[in-house]
């Protein structure tokens, strides 16, 4: 018998956790001498109040969908991938190499190629930690953390010494060819005769991300590989008994995870910056952890949570742009969301369970 209904587990608990996280965030805002309601107003207006705000919110959300899915896939295999940051950065390198190597005639051709580049580089960056975990038992949390640092150094070297156009100050690659620029959502809306989100970075990658959610859902809950990933994630001994190779699943799950994180580069590198800049990931890899936790490691939940974090990011950015609240407020809110939905969720769950048990007894 379950202690509480499924909906309470998957919806009510995270919702209450979220409310708690926001309540504390409000206290923090109060503590730094600002008004939480004013802050909320600026955030909502800036992020959701106009198609313009949405254009940014969706752009950020797209990043977070990819990194959130990356954490999700690894999580189902019982692996905690903290390396999304480095994998996404390497994905950016893959995108840049693909787009700069070939004079792409049209974005529709460039996009799949760039996706392959992004996925392959992201996956390769996850491969070594995965292999070390599977073969040598090196804790993947530690190795992926280290690989984030190594990726930063490597990318820096490549940008400064190899990809930077001569004479440019910027540790950044050359611009990608004009033809390889992805259509923005604005342009797509215009094609339907709509004025929407002018000059915002949201682009066609958003739809790729939504499709990725669907594919990950199919992978995890409908495919044989997903079955094996979940079985392995729940019980390694069980998986071995069933003839599922831990090495194979660890490596494959991390490759998929890394590829998903890498794919984020389609959005920020190809879709927005249209060249590779240093630190293009800007912490999205870590936010993926919060997104996956909030989304209860379900692709649909990840989609919703990514939108929430997209809102937080854009709203928080607006807040920092137009008021004197530092942008670190978003970091604090993000920390609180991770804390309450991820680490402290029993604080909400235990009393809830008690309430539901009491209700059930009352009815019986």
């Amino acid at each position: 018998m379950e202690r509480m209904p499924k909906w309470a587990d998957v919806i009510l608990t995270p919702l209450i956790s979220l409310v708690l996280a926001f309540a504390i965030s409000a206290l923090v805002i109060l503590a730094i001498g600002e008004s939480p309601t004013e802050a909320l107003k600026v955030m909502v207006e800036g992020a959701l109040g106009s198609s313009y705000g949405w254009g940014f919110t969706l752009y950020y959300a797209t990043n977070f969908i990819f990194t959130g899915l990356a954490v999700t896939v690894a999580y189902h295999a019982g692996l905690f991938n903290i390396g999304g940051e480095g994998q996404a950065a390497m994905g950016g390198l893959g995108v840049a190499l693909v787009l700069l190597a070939v004079p792409w005639p049209h974005w529709a051709l460039a996009l799949p190629a760039a996706m392959v580049g992004a996925a392959v580089f992201g996956a390769l960056w996850a491969l070594i930690p995965a292999w070390l975990q599977a073969k040598r038992g090196s804790h993947i949390v530690i190795t992926t953390i280290m690989f984030n640092f190594i990726a930063a150094a490597l990318l820096n070297y490549v940008l400064v010494n190899l990809l930077r156009p001569v004479g440019s100050m910027d540790p950044a690659s050359a611009r990608f060819p004009e033809a390889a620029h992805l259509p923005k959502l604005t342009d797509m809306a215009l094609a339907f005769g709509m004025q929407w989100g002018k000059n915002t970075p949201a682009n066609v990658t958003f739809f790729v991300a939504v499709i990725a959610c669907l594919l990950v859902w199919l992978l995890i809950w409908r495919s044989r590989l997903g079955y094996e990933i979940r079985a392995f994630g729940k019980s390694e001994r069980g998986a071995v008994y069933a003839g599922i190779s831990p090495v194979r699943i660890t490596v494959i799950a991390m490759l998929i995870s890394g590829a998903l994180a890498g794919l984020m580069a389609i959005n920020n590198v190809m879709g927005e910056a249209e060249r590779l800049v240093l630190n293009a990931v800007e912490g999205a890899g870590f936010i993926g952890i919060a997104v996956a936790l909030m989304g209860r490691n379900h692709p649909f939940g990840v989609l919703l949570a990514a939108l929430l974090f997209g809102f937080l990011y854009q709203g928080g950015g607006e807040l920092a742009l137009w008021t004197s609240v530092p942008r670190e407020l978003i970091v604090v809110i993000q920390a609180l969301v991770i804390l309450f939905t991820g680490a402290l969720d029993n604080m909400v769950r235990m009393p809830l369970e008690r309430i539901f048990m009491a209700l059930r007894k009352g009815r019986a």
Binding site: F56, Y59, Y60, F149, A152, A153, N156, Y157, V160, R164, V166, G167, S168, M169, D170, P171, A172, R175, N199, T200, P201, N268, E272, A273, R275, V277, L278, N279, A280, E282, Y313, G316, G317, A320, L321, R327
Partner: protein, 306 residues
């Protein structure tokens, strides 16, 4: 109203952005006018911030940092009636003024002074993140030093390769100690927040240091030899003052125009010898007169002296 956009470092970085802020404040104090200001929060916001300001009618819009270059190049044509000023980068658009500094020249002077102040004949350079712009400082410094002391040695360190390299005073301090142990007795820091640690550690160890961007002499009076000052404040001030009349084109802030200089004030007066003053004056003359060519690292990614 004019507007000012700070780069990711933030406006109180004690150097580059802060200098821009000071320029704006100076204008405000003098004219009693008001201006809009923005601090960048993320890469994707650059375009957003620029467009938003342009659309609210701000003019001119001044931005600090080369990272705006790409974006500005894209959007400037969309707002032909707005004047933009970008610092540290060249953007060729009819409504953009590009302000660039010849940091290599200022650093050259710093190098000359270091050579004169050094007793050991060995001096140090500590850069923040390992990027070309900082190599430009390094290379100018090394050229100036070698010109004054061909036998001398420059020890070069960078704090790191990630943006965290701008914020690691601990490592900055350690690098100072490492350089001191190799004989350095004057150390030039071009390293943002890390530089604070460099200046501190140098002061603690009783050796001289050289600040950067803003005049940092006051941080440790009597212990900072000089600061390689970029006239960022002046260029912001000038731009604000010119208002909509800002002249498009490239504005090179060089030694001759006073765009770069080495700071001399009461704080470092006791440290400046006559010999030093003479050498700096000579070098200044040489550079402004064209007899001394200071190589710019950025043009070919190499430095003639090692």
């Amino acid at each position: 109203d004019p507007a000012l956009i700070f780069d990711l470092g933030g406006k109180f970085d004690k150097s580059f952005n802060e200098a821009a802020f000071n320029g704006a404040e100076k204008w405000k104090a003098e004219t009693g006018g008001s201006y809009k200001e923005l601090e960048m929060q993320s890469e994707a916001q650059r375009e957003q911030a620029l467009r938003r300001l342009a659309e609210t009618g701000a003019n001119p819009i001044v931005m600090t940092g080369f990272a705006f270059g790409e974006v500005l190049n894209q959007i400037a044509p969309d707002y032909p009636d707005t004047k933009f000023v970008i610092i540290d980068m060249v953007v060729e658009q009819p409504n953009v003024q590009s302000v660039v500094f010849t940091e290599e020249q200022g650093s050259y002077l710093a190098g000359v002074m270091a050579a004169k102040a050094s007793k050991s004949g060995t001096v140090g350079f500590i850069g923040g993140m390992d990027i070309p712009l900082i190599h430009k400082f390094e290379c100018g410094y090394a050229q100036g030093f070698k010109a004054a002391n061909p036998e001398g040695k420059v020890i070069i360190n960078y704090t790191g390769t990630t943006p965290a390299a701008w914020n690691d005073p601990v490592k900055g301090g350690e690098l100072v100690k490492a350089q001191i142990s190799q004989g350095a007795d004057v150390i030039y820091a071009a390293a943002g927040g890390t530089g604070i640690g460099v200046l501190q550690a140098a002061a603690d160890a009783n050796i001289l240091s050289i600040g950067v961007d803003s005049n940092q002499n006051h941080l440790h009076p009597g212990k900072i030899l000089t600061s390689m000052v970029k006239g960022v404040d002046n260029s912001v001030y000038d731009a604000f003052k010119a208002g909509t009349e800002v002249q498009p084109g490239i504005k090179v802030m060089d030694l001759a125009s006073g765009g770069v200089s080495v700071a001399l004030d009461d704080n470092n007066k006791p440290l400046i010898t006559e010999d030093m003053t003479a050498a700096v004056d000579a070098a200044t003359k040489g550079i402004t007169g064209g007899e001394i060519k200071v190589h710019d690292y950025m043009t070919d990614n190499t430095c003639p002296v090692q």
